[in-house]
Symmetry: C2
Subunit: 329 residues, 2 copies
């Protein structure tokens, strides 16, 4: 992991372009300079092959080339795949990754934030549902799935569009009366937008819907009761169900089997995440796929980007529908 | 992550025991000293509560309290769960973990080994199938699943016993003619012992068996052909199958369904690993469970243990059978 120091410096670029060092710095940081200067600097950058990593080296003296990832665990398939893609995105840039499985331990999370402030790591990418985590402004931090304030970029898939897509897909597949099922953190986070997107999709397609929302700690049996209550003469009144995760979809499908409802013949089910069997085989169910490689790239790119002014507070990346056997197509 | 330096030193032990510092060092490192000296030193160690980590602090000046984990990826459930448990075992000891998803990249693996030699990390825990990885003697390294030489401890589950247990279980469940199915690296490694254990189990229980072994890159269709060839009048001649991984078992069960063979009624299937749906739900199939928390603890304990002479070259930890719906019980 030794750095090569033969890469061109900002000084080399200034010399090549025949401009002052400050001008190069402005161009690199996206600040306004005259067009002719900008073009000369950009040409010099191209000619010398002075790339983003060199920018970083030029601007900050002591880097650890280490980034910490805070993630609840790595055995949950979504977290496991996300960890993998972030690791790959960092390695590509010759950055090392400290992994911290937090198990939702807020003390541990805070410890890592302190490490950034002590310059033991260059920054943190974190998926945390800890509402009390204190991240000071200017601490290099990129959050996944939860907005932590205007100065901390948050990267997520387009959860609203994903919910909407699920409703539209069910409508396209002929469903007339659908259910929305959710369990999980009641904390304000991006995945919660799946609900609003789904409602929006149902309304725009003119199909009726019902919602069943459990909170963490609620008994899972409530889902079974909810579905039982909607069965008359052996027939479920819903012809489509959207579950906010593939894991929930899987559990709901089991309940449906127990209630003698055939999937997808009697009722079609769509999950969310794009979970693959054994990590790289087929989809576990029909699903809204999160773009994990793109989300990982975006997290790393935003974390390492020097110019804070160009960091957006929220980036939502496009999702896609994938067939996984629990819908008719 | 700051260390406390209030722990007793080796000097304190020498003073308490009334012996020379070298004598304490010998006792700590398991070298021969007279019994009366040994007892005095051991009593002093106990009295001062001078424990293993203090040994480490006494013997090695600059520690990074960072350990690297080399693992092919984190999306494969077995790797994902192993990564989690190693992370937890390290965090418990206030060690940080650098994660390196190697994607079987041997250059990357070698880079990390160099980092240990440059004291950038204290040691490496690695699951690598790279036969060319050069790890010098005295480099703190613990290998998982593959022996890398007498001075590098290897931690694995008891793969031989696991194979044997699978055969015995199938025999106990009434199977008379079973198959062994394997695909994977042909490199010499611990999981390969599952085959020998299975054969041994079949022989000791007096049940007949056949083997079908594919190598990496062989067409998966060969398994389907193998099973088809053993069907006469719609009936499979095997009443039990042991697959070397849960992932293979899952694929084999799909083939069996395609061939109209009911699992477990017509044929019982046992996999290996103990893979759980979504990482923490039920087992995907009946399986031989690897003791991941214990393996992770052992890896970390061996890596951080100072006394090299007490590090065994191979530790095999006990496996257990778990019912997962693809056997009759």
């Amino acid at each position: 992991m030794k750095r090569e120091n033969t890469a061109p410096t900002m000084k080399d670029v200034a010399k090549e372009a025949g401009v002052a060092l400050g001008t190069v710095s402005k161009v690199v940081n996206g600040l306004p300079v005259g067009d002719s200067y900008r073009i000369r600097v950009e040409d010099a950058i191209k000619k010398l092959n002075y790339h983003v990593n060199s920018y970083a080296q030029g601007l900050k003296a002591s880097r650890t080339y280490t980034v910490a990832l805070l993630i609840p665990n790595t055995y949950t398939p979504f977290f496991a795949a996300l960890t993998y893609h972030i690791n790959i995105a960092l390695l590509k840039r010759k950055y090392r990754m400290l992994l911290c499985s937090t198990d939702y331990d807020s003390g541990l999370e805070q410890e890592y934030v302190t490490m950034v402030q002590q310059n033991k790591v260059d920054g943190i990418i974190g998926l945390t549902y800890n509402p009390n985590l204190i991240v000071e402004e200017n601490t290099p931090f990129v959050s996944i799935d939860r907005s932590m304030g205007p100065t901390i970029p948050c990267v997520a898939c387009d959860n609203f569009a994903g919910g909407q897509l699920a409703a539209e897909k069910l409508a396209d597949l002929g469903c007339k009366n659908v259910a929305f099922m959710r369990i999980g953190s009641s904390l304000n986070n991006e995945p919660n937008k799946r609900k609003a997107g789904f409602e929006n999709g149902c309304l725009s397609r003119g199909i009726s819907y019902e919602m069943k929302i459990l909170n963490d700690g609620d008994s899972f049996e409530e889902f079974e009761n909810f579905l039982s209550d909607h069965i008359a003469d052996g027939k479920l009144s819903f012809d489509g169900i959207f579950c906010v995760t593939d894991s929930l979809a899987f559990s709901v499908i089991r309940i449906l089997q127990k209630l003698n409802q055939k999937v997808p013949e009697d009722v079609q089910v769509i999950g969310f995440d794009g979970t693959r069997r054994f990590g790289n085989m087929d989809y576990i169910c029909s699903t809204i796929v999160q773009p994990l490689p793109e989300m990982a790239e975006m997290c790393v790119e935003l974390l390492l980007r020097e110019n804070a002014q160009t960091k957006p507070p929220l980036v939502c990346l496009p999702v896609a529908y994938a067939y996984g056997g629990t819908t008719t197509e």
